[in-house]
Amino acid sequence: MPLTLRIGKDASLGALEDKILQIAHHGRGPSTVWLAADTQKYFFEETRIASLLATAARAGPLTIVDWSGGEDSDRAKSRFRTTPDGLAAVVYSGDLRTVKSGNVDFEGRDLVATVIDQGGLAEARPSEIGKNAPTSSLTICAFDDQQPEPLVFAGIYDLARFISKIQTLRRSHFEVGIGAGYAGRIGGEADRQLAIFIYELYQNTYFHGRRDSRHAIIKPGMRYIRLKRHIGVRQSQFTEKASGFTELQEYMEKTVPPKGQFAFWEVTVSDHGIGIVDRFLATRPEYRSEASTYEGRVTLANRIINEALSSNLSLSGAGYGIRNALAASDKLRGFTSVRSGDLWLYHSSVTTKDTPWLNPVSVSGQLGRSAGTQFSMLFPLSEQYT
């Protein structure tokens, strides 16, 4: 029996995790995913949906039904053109259709090629569309093996250029309005450490996040760096956006004032590979016994990203960036979420400050094994918090 999953507008992270677990329990076989439009209600939601779609596609043929309800194919096309979960639907599904009007037909050039040419997805919030309106998110995509490096990174082969590029993109897209002057306020050092970490994470997606346990490139594959801005005017808006993620809700309660406009910027680095621990074990099987339990995998994941445990035998010293990144995140009053394989970890500048450690997120029951690794960080953009 094909598996059918319905992802509605109000699918919280918890609900999505349930669906990922369903895929795991269902095993190999075809699946159909009904995908609502406007799936941006919760933090990290689109990222998690993209990973869910990759997970389903790895299990068997995937059909996606655009669940926006009407026959408005333009709206459907737009949805798939502008969000990472929409793009993941295009990349991973063999059959992409609307409820009533059949297959979504992307006329002219292939959508992925268009995204490649554009240098990624720049998505404007409808209410903000207008002259000089900032975009609410920017997703820089790489596609394996069609385009392993985004064109926007053309000629960026070293850290200094990467830092400059990321900071320029953030400045031009997010440091306006409530975020104006952000770079100046946070201080160069923490900003730099963070950019170094994004660089390392992105490099890791390239070196490891697209390869299977036999070191072959997983095709099709999608990796991305996503910069996104979240704006609200009440604390409750943010705690609601964190539903299904207790530690994040606690962070929001302690970070966002009860009233008044507040904003965060999010950076997510994502791949749809086999996850940090499994990829490491593919090259270093001698650590396999340490990964036999959930706690063991949590510890090993922390060691991989915290110590000089490298899956590259000829290049040691990798992985230490996380220590500096978490320190920088604490300094910027940030929150970090890592979803990788069957692990979900977090670090909060409110509750786990000054520990170079990622803690397991409290979830009720078991987590399903999802495709890849999603490293997401949130930082307050608002002036009083930077």
Partner: protein, 749 residues
């Protein structure tokens, strides 16, 4: 904060030393991160990491300082890590602060000999890397301010390219600066070094509130009375305090100027403590403290005077005030049968086999990126050539029995070669060697393999099999670990290499000598090094690969506004190719950016190779090899790339004229040449090139290569031509012309 990589030979086994500064505006953690993030590949073989503390700090509690160096141990977990610092004007190197280092080089590194070696290596590095070392071709000589003629001249002022050079000289000068409150330089051309030293000295010795005055002489002191008078005032100015005065000499050869100075200054201030220090000492004949001896080592330039320049020698005068040569003599060379001859057999043998591709990454057997190659030599493809395959199998016959172990780096070509040889050993000796795949036999080697190697005795042999060797460093890593206490291998090593592709034959000969060395054994029982093929090629990394440079140019263009959509599409299509092909098959017949279906091809009787079906990658590689040969020949006036004031450049007719009918050859020459090898010093010659470019791009058959010409203009290898409005119109009507016009305008700005 670029690290400097040195190789120190301690008699038998070279060790890799990475030397890096921690400037006073960075923390150790920042330096560790930068080193790791930006230089991981070039520093991965580091045995010893030397970190120089901020030079303006006197460090009294070295243990406290070492505690702060933990980030280096995190990022370089295998290296022996040491701090180079000073305390109260004394320079020292700390013990190793990395408990997990594979080998602790403490005894060697903390010796006075090592400090001296490091000081001299660093200062020589600055001299060689900058344009400070001026050399003449055979038929030229310099007439230098001392009135003599020389073939090599060191203009020390030219090392002052960046702050870290100035800081380095200050650091090494520290032992001479104790109680010093004045610095006089013998030439204004090193004034930045002196001014920086005075500034840092005031910070370094802030507790004693020293003020250090600086002055300088304006011209070479030849002993004339007039110059004595001119020298008096500056000297008086630095002698105001009660402390010692350091007289800083840029370079000393015979000491003539030095003795004039010493004599005069002693007479002027007989009771003043005056310390004479040379930055560079060029011969052993003078007694003076010097920071760097620029003589007495292999490859040292010859600074000896020429008593009588041979008849016909052209003499170029070096100015006594600026120390710059007063004339530039430009020379041209071109491709000829003689420069393609050394490598031609290789290209004739492998043309058309895809043995050579361009802009391609190499991976290990885990498919992890190893490095990028501008020119990639593919031994897997070469093994399809019967004669090459036979040569590999013949190696098995060179041994009297199957070796105990066959070691390969973990990559597919190594695996393939190992499989072929294992089968051959089996058929010849009815015994298969065990195959071990490992990058360096370092700490990640498993216990079983370690025990196996340890169990081998001195009468047994092992084979190290590598597909391609560029510098031979990987082979040296194997050797280092085989000799280590952990493995303690005493038997014989046979290094079998598919293709040795060094940048120079001399470099390769040195490596072979080191690899062959086996203590206590006669020559026939030394280790052996065999390469099936040897070809001299430039080693283009991702920073110098012409196609990586192309990506940078194109990335910059699409970042800017104002590109027509047709042109933008053209650029993005090319970018998509360049940004994906490097991790797959590399470039072969698409290396030249050409839009015509009829791509430029090689015609018969080419001086580069016979095969008219050769791929573009073959032709470009062969041209690159020929040009590289021209860069490495003795400097008789025809060595390509010889620097100022005797630049030897690629002839205009070679790359923009009719010397070669084949457009492919001309374009390959431009792709393979460096900008400085094409650009003329003589303005009228550069104008001639500009006109040639104009004529070329207006040829009807050139439309297809307009993008390639645009790139060469953007890369400043070709000068932007001046076009009429009509000609601009022709360009603007075509997407590729739009790119070309954009390039011309961009550079002309």
């Amino acid at each position: 904060m670029d690290p400097i990589i040195f190789e120190r030979s301690n008699g038998e086994q070279p060790i890799n030393v990475t030397f890096v500064d921690c400037p006073n505006f960075l923390e150790y953690s920042d330096v560790a991160e930068q080193l790791y993030s930006s230089y991981a590949r070039i520093t991965e073989s580091t045995d010893v990491l030397i970190v120089r503390a901020p030079v303006d700090r006197s460090i009294n509690d070295i243990d406290l300082e070492l505690d702060n160096m933990q980030p280096f141990s995190n990022r370089f977990p295998r290296a022996s890590i040491h701090l180079l610092s000073s305390s109260d004007f004394s320079i020292s190197i700390s013990k190793n602060c990395n408990a997990n280092a594979i080998r602790d080089f403490c005894d060697e590194v903390t010796s006075a000999d090592f400090v001296e070696w490091l000081r001299e290596s660093e200062l020589r590095y600055y001299a060689v890397r900058s344009s400070a070392l001026l050399s003449t071709p055979d038929n030229f000589s310099f007439h230098i301010p001392s009135g003599r003629c020389v073939r090599n001249f060191l203009r020390v002022g030219s090392i002052q390219l960046e702050r870290r050079t100035l800081d380095a000289v200050f650091f090494w000068l520290l032992p001479f600066l104790r109680n010093c409150d004045g610095i006089l330089t013998e030439t204004w051309s090193i004034s930045s070094i002196a001014l920086n030293a005075a500034r840092l000295l005031e910070r370094y010795a802030a507790n004693i509130n020293v003020r250090c005055r600086v002055d300088m002489l304006s011209t070479y002191h030849d002993g004339s009375a007039l110059l004595d008078q001119q020298m008096e005032v500056p000297f008086q100015r630095v002698c105001v305090g009660n402390g010692a005065v350091v007289v800083l000499i840029s370079a000393v050869m015979t000491g003539r100027s030095l003795s004039n100075l010493q004599e005069y200054l002693t007479k002027l201030y007989p009771h003043k403590e005056v310390r004479f220090v040379a930055i560079y000492k060029l011969s052993d004949s003078v007694q003076i403290d010097a920071l760097c001896n620029f003589f007495g080592y292999a490859g040292a330039p010859n600074f000896e005077y020429i008593d009588r320049p041979p008849l016909g020698t052209h003499v170029v005068t070096v100015d006594s005030k600026t120390y710059f040569p007063l004339a530039v003599k430009e020379n041209s060379v071109g491709l000829s049968p003689s420069c393609s001859k050394p490598n031609r057999p290789f290209f004739d043998k492998f043309a058309g086999t895809k043995a050579l591709t361009l802009h391609r990454d190499s991976f290990d057997s885990f498919n992890l990126l190893f490095r990028h190659h501008g020119i990639y030599v593919d031994v897997e493809a070469m093994l399809n050539v019967p004669s090459f395959r036979a040569s590999l199998l013949d190696l098995a016959a060179s041994l009297s029995e199957s070796p105990a172990l066959l070691i390969t780096p973990p990559h597919n070509a190594g695996d393939l070669m190992a499989r072929l040889l294992t089968a051959e050993f089996k058929s010849r000796y009815d015994k298969e060697p065990r195959v071990l795949s490992h990058p360096d036999l370092g700490p990640s080697l498993d216990a079983e393999s370690r025990a196996l190697i340890r169990s081998l005795d001195e009468n047994q042999a092992l084979v190290i099999l590598d597909d391609v060797s560029v510098t031979g460093k990987r082979l040296s890593r194997y050797q280092l670990h085989l000799r280590s206490q952990e493995l303690d291998f005493k038997g014989r090593i046979h290094y079998w290499i598919g293709v040795a592709r060094p940048e120079s034959q001399r470099q390769w000969a040195d490596r072979v000598m080191h690899l062959s060395y086996r203590i206590g054994y006669p020559k026939p029982e030394q280790h052996s090094v065999v390469s099936l093929e040897t070809v001299t090629l430039p080693d283009w990394t991702h920073k110098t690969c012409p196609w990586c440079v192309e990506i940078q140019h194109l990335g910059r263009i699409i970042d800017e506004a104002g590109i027509q959509s047709g042109t933008e599409r053209l650029i993005k299509d090319r970018l998509r190719l360049l940004m994906s092909v490097h991790e797959a098959e590399g470039l072969s017949n698409d290396a030249i950016w050409c839009l015509s279906e009829e791509r430029p091809k090689l015609t018969p009787n080419s001086l580069i190779m016979d095969d008219t079906n050769a791929l573009e990658s073959d032709v470009i590689s062969a041209v690159a090899a020929a040009l590289h040969h021209l860069r490495s020949i003795p400097n008789t006036g025809n060595r390509l790339g010889s620097a100022y004031p005797f630049p030897t450049l690629v002839g205009i007719d070679d790359h923009l004229g009719q010397k070669f009918n084949d457009m492919l050859l001309r374009l390959a020459i431009i792709r393979s040449s460096q900008r400085k090898e094409l650009t003329r010093w003589d303005d009228s010659e550069e104008e001639r090139r500009r006109e040639r470019v104009r004529e070329l791009l207006l040829l009807p058959e050139a439309v297809g290569i307009w993008p390639e010409l645009a790139l060469n203009i953007l890369d400043r290898k070709l000068p932007p031509p001046v076009l009429s409005e009509h000609e601009q119109g022709i360009l603007s009507s075509h997407p590729a012309g739009g790119l070309l016009w954009w390039a011309i305008q961009s550079i002309s700005k």
